[in-house]
């Protein structure tokens, strides 16, 4: 593959803020040949997206190219005018964005959007473009390839939409496809489908791929070569085999360690003495049903049921994980427990005493004892308040520290989440994503809670940062004796942390058990599907996973990518009956 002349050649590229300052991309050279996939790996702020966009001749507003060259085939992209760039984008070089949902026009049919490059560039008659699109739908395993393009974006699932995006990127047979985290917003089960389809399509073409991701396990399935970036500089590059087998740089090893956080073959989290089964439950969720819309007069159930008769219990010094993909009702359940979304039926009990459904009806002490931490660290902190004020408010509100002792207590809490005391003077805008999430934890801990609800607190973070947050939660549980409800869509994250796991699907709890047991011997097909979908950090996993999925759900293989959900639902009903 290296023999062919590279399609994309970037030479000592330096991109820096136009107003001056440290370069975002600092003197990086790379080349991609036809049929080759090069992955750019790094955490947020590593410059990987800036570098990938530069491959399309695009520099985000506020940034400017200081020096270097970018060539696509024989074209010099930096010297090319806007008209020339417009001409090659969507035709010779295409872009597949992270969020398909945000990238499609909701008012246009999918066919019209997928064939747009042909229309914009007047390359071929519409009928021909449509035929090409349907061919791609088929190869991307989309159901009913002849008709699905007539649907609107909201009429297909998120994973299917991401595949339409890939079809749009590939329809004109581009020389280069740039993918920016194309599966990061997807659930693990959907991610496997999209990765498999993408790999199949790019493998049998002469297209070169530039694949941006922060997840090494995903990249290992697709890429021939990997470049590791950190703060705009190239840390290490090599073939995928070499990087995974023998990483040279400490940072690469750290990335790999963060991905190896969970190995199926090794029993996860050794049973801890502290989590003795005899202790009475601190938090009990008793047959909670909750949802949206007006209640139906006959049954008293909400029109849309998000949580359906869920029951679980968390003991002190125990971490119970709730696992499920988006729409499984796990976040709604978290809000029901926190009192932000009153349940339609059922009860929440704290040390045996029932809590009022709405937070306003709970006593100050009850509110203090149950604390929730949200997923988006960015929006969970008031950007106008300093960290000290954010934590101080919780201290004052719950009366946990007299005014004179407050600064000392704030410093203690910051130390508890491993942040220096000087951070009290900072505003959220001056913190990184991981630091913000630590402050969120500190604010919750200021209340000296007994129950901590963590709602996807690591989902928006990079792998390495997320691993550190998980270790912190583990540490806090042991030191403070917290009962932790840890909600996540990522089995790998919770495998090392949770004592027990509850699997939710469509509002119902489908399986539960001690973590080790559940991971080793899952009984429900959905749990098995979830387990089979967690990317592992080794080459060839994707093919095995696809095989396992096919074995798990025979219907799945027959009907192409018929909505997995419906197939499962049939099985669920069978179980119920």
């Amino acid at each position: 593959m290296q023999a062919a002349a590279p399609i994309l050649a970037i030479d000592r590229l330096v991109v820096a803020p136009a107003a001056g300052g440290a370069p975002v991309v600092d003197g990086i050279s790379l080349a991609v040949s036809p049929g080759e996939v090069l992955a750019l790996i790094g955490e947020s702020g590593s410059g990987k997206t800036t570098l990938a966009l530069a491959a399309l001749g695009y520099v985000r507003p506020g940034l400017a190219v200081r020096s270097g060259r970018i060539r696509l085939g024989a074209t010099d992209l930096l010297g090319a005018g806007e008209a020339k760039l417009q001409d090659l984008r969507g035709r010779r070089a295409t872009y597949i964005a992270q969020s398909a949902a945000a990238s499609f026009n909701p008012a246009l049919r999918l066919d019209a959007q997928v064939t747009e490059p042909a229309r914009v560039h007047r390359l071929r008659p519409l009928a021909e473009a449509l035929a090409k699109a349907r061919l791609l739908y088929r190869r991307l395993d989309l159901p009913e390839p002849e008709r699905i393009g007539q649907r609107f974006p909201h009429e297909v699932s998120g994973g299917q939409l991401q595949r339409f995006m890939i079809a749009m990127g590939l329809i004109e047979g581009p020389q280069l496809v740039v993918c920016d985290e194309p599966t990061s917003a997807l659930d693990v089960t959907t991610q496997v489908e999209v990765l498999k389809a993408f790999k199949a399509v790019i493998r049998d073409g002469s297209t070169a791929g530039l694949f941006v991701s922060h997840d090494l396990a995903v990249v290992a399935q697709l890429a021939d070569r990997i470049i590791v970036l950190r703060r705009g500089a190239l840390v290490e590059q090599g073939t995928t085999e070499a990087i995974l087998a023998a990483p040279q740089e400490p940072y690469t090893r750290e990335l790999i360690a963060a991905c190896r956080r969970w190995d199926r073959r090794r029993p996860a989290s050794p049973p801890r003495v502290a989590a003795c089964a005899a202790a009475p439950a601190r938090l009990e969720v008793v047959d909670v049903t909750a949802g949206f819309g007006p209640r139906e007069p006959m049954t008293g159930r909400p029109t849309i049921t998000a949580v359906d008769a869920a029951a679980l219990a968390v003991r002190p010094r125990e971490v119970v994980a709730i696992i499920g993909e988006s729409g499984s009702g796990k976040s709604t359940l978290a809000q029901v427990i926190a009192g932000l979304h009153p349940a339609a039926a059922g009860e929440i009990r704290l040390d045996g005493a029932a809590l009022a459904p709405a937070v306003a009806r709970r006593s100050l002490d009850q509110r203090r004892r149950v604390q929730i931490v949200f997923q988006m660290a960015d929006t969970a902190l008031n950007p106008r308040h300093r960290v000290g004020r954010i934590i101080g408010r919780a201290l004052a509100f719950f009366g946990r520290a007299p005014r004179a002792r407050r600064p000392a207590r704030i410093a203690e809490l910051l130390a508890l989440v491993r942040l220096p005391a000087s951070y009290a003077e900072r505003r959220p805008g001056e913190l990184s994503g991981g630091e913000k999430q630590r402050v969120n934890l500190a604010r919750a801990l200021a209340a000296e809670p007994d129950v901590l609800i963590c709602d996807e607190i690591t989902s928006a973070l990079d792998t390495v940062v997320a691993a550190a947050i998980v270790r912190l939660v583990e540490d806090l549980r042991d030191r403070l004796g917290l009962a932790v409800l840890f909600i996540s869509h990522d089995l790998a994250t919770v495998a090392t942390l949770a004592d027990r796991v509850v699997v939710m699907r469509r509002g119902k709890i489908v399986e539960r058990g001690p973590t080790g047991e559940l991971l080793a011997r899952p009984t429900h097909p959905y749990t098995r599907l979830l387990l089979a979908s967690v990317p592992e950090l080794r080459i060839g996993w994707l093919e095995e996973a696809a095989g396992r999925r096919a074995a798990l759900l025979p219907e799945f293989a027959e009907t192409g990518a018929a909505p997995v959900a419906d197939v499962d639902r049939g099985r669920e009903d069978a179980h119920a009956g």
Partner: protein
Amino acid sequence: MSAANEALSPPARGPRNALFAVAAGVLVAWALIAVLAPLLVPHDPTDFVSDDPFAAPSRIAWLGTDYLGRDLFSRLIAGARISLFMAFLATLLAHLLGGTLGLMAAVRGGLFDAAVSRIVDIALSLPKIIVGLVVVAAIGTSMTVLVIVAGLVYAAGVFRIARALGADVAVMDFIRAARARGEGAAWLIFGEILPNIIMPLAADFAIRMSFAILFMSSLSFIGLGVQPPRADWGGLVRENLSALSAGSWAPIFPALAIASVAIALNLLVDAIGDRRQLARIRDE
């Protein structure tokens, strides 16, 4: 970029462009003049300094005299105090009332939001100057009445803006976190939301104050505002209007004063907008 992000982006620091400097300079100058008016006037604004009405500018009366032979310069300065103080108080009232209700509606939602929003719809559908005329005709005019009427009339507009800005912030997670703590509406509004929308509200304050100056000057111009012998700028234009036919500049000066403040306030808002955009670009 959504309104919420806009509201949450940090303010720019330091006067970055000439527009801002000029607008701010004019406003600061007028504010100083208004505050220090009693020390600045060369004559008592109600004293007769000349026997001639509409006398040309002289060493005694720098801008000439008015229709009764009083010093126009002194009356203009005294008028600045009346016009600006009244407009400021009216806008302050509008913001205290409309802003608080608007943010309350954003935080509480439900019936409260629906009820207040409908009342505001009605208030906004009425022409402001007609409302002013009817109220003044019904209960008579005084400076207190004028300030309260203008404050109420403009509170409806402030409500709309504050509610829209507040609703954007109210759905963010830090508000959910505060609600989960059980925080009351007062903290949610003034502790959490207000710091995030203070810049757009300040811009609204400036532009609404220019409306209020014009509103009250209009009422004074038709004789229903500030009553003689005192006069705000609108009143000064009115009482000296006949000078135009006599070839005097007397009504031009108060008219220019009104224009300078109204334009400066609008430029200030424009400049703030530009600076915020610059700040956004820098942030990205």
